[in-house]
Amino acid sequence: MSFVEYSEFIKEGDVVIIFLGHESMMPIKVEAGAQTQTRYGAIRHSSDLIGRRFGSKVTCSKGGWVYVLHPTPELWTVNLPHRTQILYSTDIANITLMLDLKPGSVVCESGTGSGSLSHAILRTIAPSGHLHTVEFHAQRAEKAAQEFRDHKVGHLVTVRNQDVCKEGFGVVGVADAVFLDIPSPWEAITHAKKAFKRKGGRLCSFSPCIEQVQRTCETLLEQGFQEICTLEVLQRVHDVRSVTLPLPDFGPENGGVESGKMTTDPASEDVRPAANSGYLSVNCRTATPPREMAGHTGYLTFATKPRG
């Protein structure tokens, strides 16, 4: 297992994702002899996990069962331990496309945070690219480095504990893309410029507040960046469900025997007796929005650093 390469069977030391049910998952580090408690019972790593195929059903001690999944950056994003507010896959997907990331890309990122975006970048740039990630918080930097090692991607990433606004990314002239998710991105633009390869590349800055975006765009323009573009993207989930809508009863037609039936009737298969009233109803297979949804994560500002 690694976050950049699929494997078929679970080995000791792997990080796997246990799927317990709808919107309920947890990551586990597989260790011989260890046990993990779930609401369905205990999972014994040695007998239930090691050697099993990813995607298998695992029966827990109390009789309930779960699925064991191969980790992906997307699964990691929704299951990782938060040390900071993280980026979710919707923003990550757009960042990946808009920065032209692909195998071999060299990327500079700051701040590392909880490593959500970092894992997605590593997956995309493997096997020949490299990620230089900068985090000014010492413990977070160390934790991130540890996770990269556990996830078998350490060879693709260099973590530096420093302040990107003062010291830059620690490398110059190597990056195809630069990503900034820091409180004052405009202070890091000149360092970002130096990090790029001579031929230039793509830059992205993520900021929750519009004031930050304004200052960043102003600086980007002053510093010669082109194609400056700010957007935001939100994901809407559609909950698929069957709904039953009762039909109205307008009384008998023309004094006839039948009660309640409408002339404009839906397909008779869908018409069935409602629970109490004895009148008819229709069934609809539809999708509804959730009651609430994420309305804002942050503004994404993209730009191109031209050659020179």
Partner: protein, 477 residues
């Protein structure tokens, strides 16, 4: 320090034969660089000759004859330093008479060879209201005129981002109205990365295929399923991949899927395509010969009469030779086709693909259910559809069938912003929709659909009722 060996200029220079993307403002067009060949872009005829040898990202001016001239990158942007401006528009009357130059005047300026910047200056000088506009209004006016009169184009290296934006802006119908951020979601949700084996079924002119290939970087393999005569790859060619990328690309016809699944696939089986090609070859072969014969005077009829005329005999000999040559070429082609089919079949029959991406105008449900059989457990899949209902159907069928978890039906909301000092706001026009996605993860296929109900968020009671009633109700509509 900078690794200059990696950063060589060579790969950054435009070469003949390469696929590039022309850009003016927000308009993009994919073209292939061919010398002395005219391309049309934004109502102008252009010769790409002068772009050869220049760096990607260069901006060129287009002259009246369509010739390109490299524009220096120094920013001559805000040359119009207009100190005079008004405070608001309370006295500005929009009577359509403030511009003194007529359309003919402007045309003659263009014919005189005046550059865009100069024409704009003329327009400003001849506008009675320009000096009364606010600074912001002046900036907006200049920006608008620049868009109309500047004839610069930038030559870009193609990428998934650029091509997705191009197709969505230019020919959305060709890509089932797949918006670029939705494509971004697909590539990420599908965990497309180097070294995997991905099955793609798309009718998006090859854009989705190309984007998948870009993320694979030439590692692993992509199997493109195709519905009819042959796989469509025009959009993929526009990416300009190096030739070794094409070695990772396979194709397999949908009409042979059932045979493959049941283990009865015969790669030597002649399909209707080859038979129709047969007829076409015969016809082209004979028409070539007859056109050669036309040199001697009148066109000769396709006569099968034996003639003792030596000229006739020679012609018959030539016809024979050509026919044999064509038959030989055809044999080689068929052999190649057979080999490729067998290779694709081998990749598929293991039923261990790492992912499945579907984006087509076909009804997604049968496509998904059919192709999921080739995917290994614990792998993501993603289906795009322009409409929502077909994906609701997919969701429902997958729930019943089992073998997939974490099913999510989503779409994304996208909004662009204008960010300018004191003028920051969302852009006035926004995309109404970018299509829908159904994504999920495969798990080891299990017989009991009732078990998956345990994990489902839907109340079980309703479903049982449905089943009960369906079995007792009448089926007539």
């Amino acid at each position: 320090m900078a690794d200059t060996a990696v950063d060589s200029d060579e790969e950054c220079r435009i070469s003949e034969g390469e696929y590039v993307v022309l850009k003016r403002g927000d308009v993009y067009k994919s073209v292939q660089i061919e010398k002395r060949k005219k391309v049309i872009f934004e109502k102008q005829w252009i010769f790409m000759d002068n772009a050869v040898g220049e760096l990607y990202g260069s901006t060129f001016e287009v002259d009246g004859g369509g010739k390109l001239t490299l524009r220096k990158p120094n920013r001559t942007e805000d040359a119009t330093d207009n100190k005079e401006a008004g405070l608001d528009n309370r006295h500005i009357v929009d009577d359509g008479k403030s511009q003194k130059l007529t359309r003919d005047d402007i045309e003659s300026l263009k014919e005189q060879g005046l550059k865009g910047q100069e024409i704009i200056q003329q327009l400003i000088d001849n506008s009675t209201t320009f000096k009364d506009k606010t600074e912001f209004a002046q900036e907006k006016y200049i920006k608008k005129k620049k868009k109309k009169y500047e004839s610069n184009i930038t030559v870009l290296k193609p990428s998934s981002r650029i091509l997705a934006m191009m197709y969505h802006g230019r020919e959305p119908g060709k890509i089932c109205h797949l918006r670029y951020d939705t494509l971004a979601q697909m590539l990420t949700m599908g965990n497309i990365h180097a070294g995997s084996k991905i099955i793609v079924f798309e009718t998006c002119a090859g854009l989705v295929l190309g984007s998948v290939m870009e993320r694979m970087g030439g590692h692993g393999s992509v199997i493109q399923m195709y519905p009819g005569g042959g796989p469509v790859r025009a959009g993929m060619e526009s990416f300009g991949f190096p030739s070794h990328f094409h070695d990772t690309l396979h194709e397999f016809p949908l009409c042979k899927v059932n045979a493959l699944l049941s283990g009865t696939l015969n790669v030597d089986e002649k399909d209707t395509d080859s038979q129709s090609n047969d007829g076409a070859d015969k016809q082209s072969g004979s028409s070539q010969v007859s056109s050669g014969g036309g040199e001697e005077g009148s066109a000769e009829p396709q006569s099968m009469e034996v003639s003792t005329d030596p000229a006739e005999a020679k012609k018959r000999e030539e016809r024979e030779k050509l026919r044999e040559q064509k038959a030989q070429e055809k044999k080689v082609r068929l052999e190649e086709k057979r080999r490729r089919l067998a290779a694709a079949a081998t990749l598929l029959e293991g039923r261990n693909a790492d992912g499945l991406v579907i984006a087509s105008r076909f009804s997604p449900c049968p496509v998904l259910l059919g192709l999921l059989k080739f995917v290994a457990p614990s792998r993501p899949f993603v289906v795009y559809c322009q409409y929502r209902e077909p994906l609701i159907e997919c969701y429902t069928k997958l729930r019943e069938q089992g073998g997939a978890i974490s099913l999510r039906l989503t779409d994304s909301w996208l909004r662009h912003y204008q960010v300018l000092p004191n003028r920051t706001h969302p852009v006035l026009l926004m995309s109404g929709g970018g299509g829908y996605l159904l994504s999920g993860i495969t798990v080891t296929a299990d017989a009991a659909a009732s078990e998956t109900q345990q994990k489902s968020s839907e109340p079980a009671a309703k479903r049982i009722k449905l089943d009960e009633i369906r079995s007792t109700g009448d089926s007539s509509v």
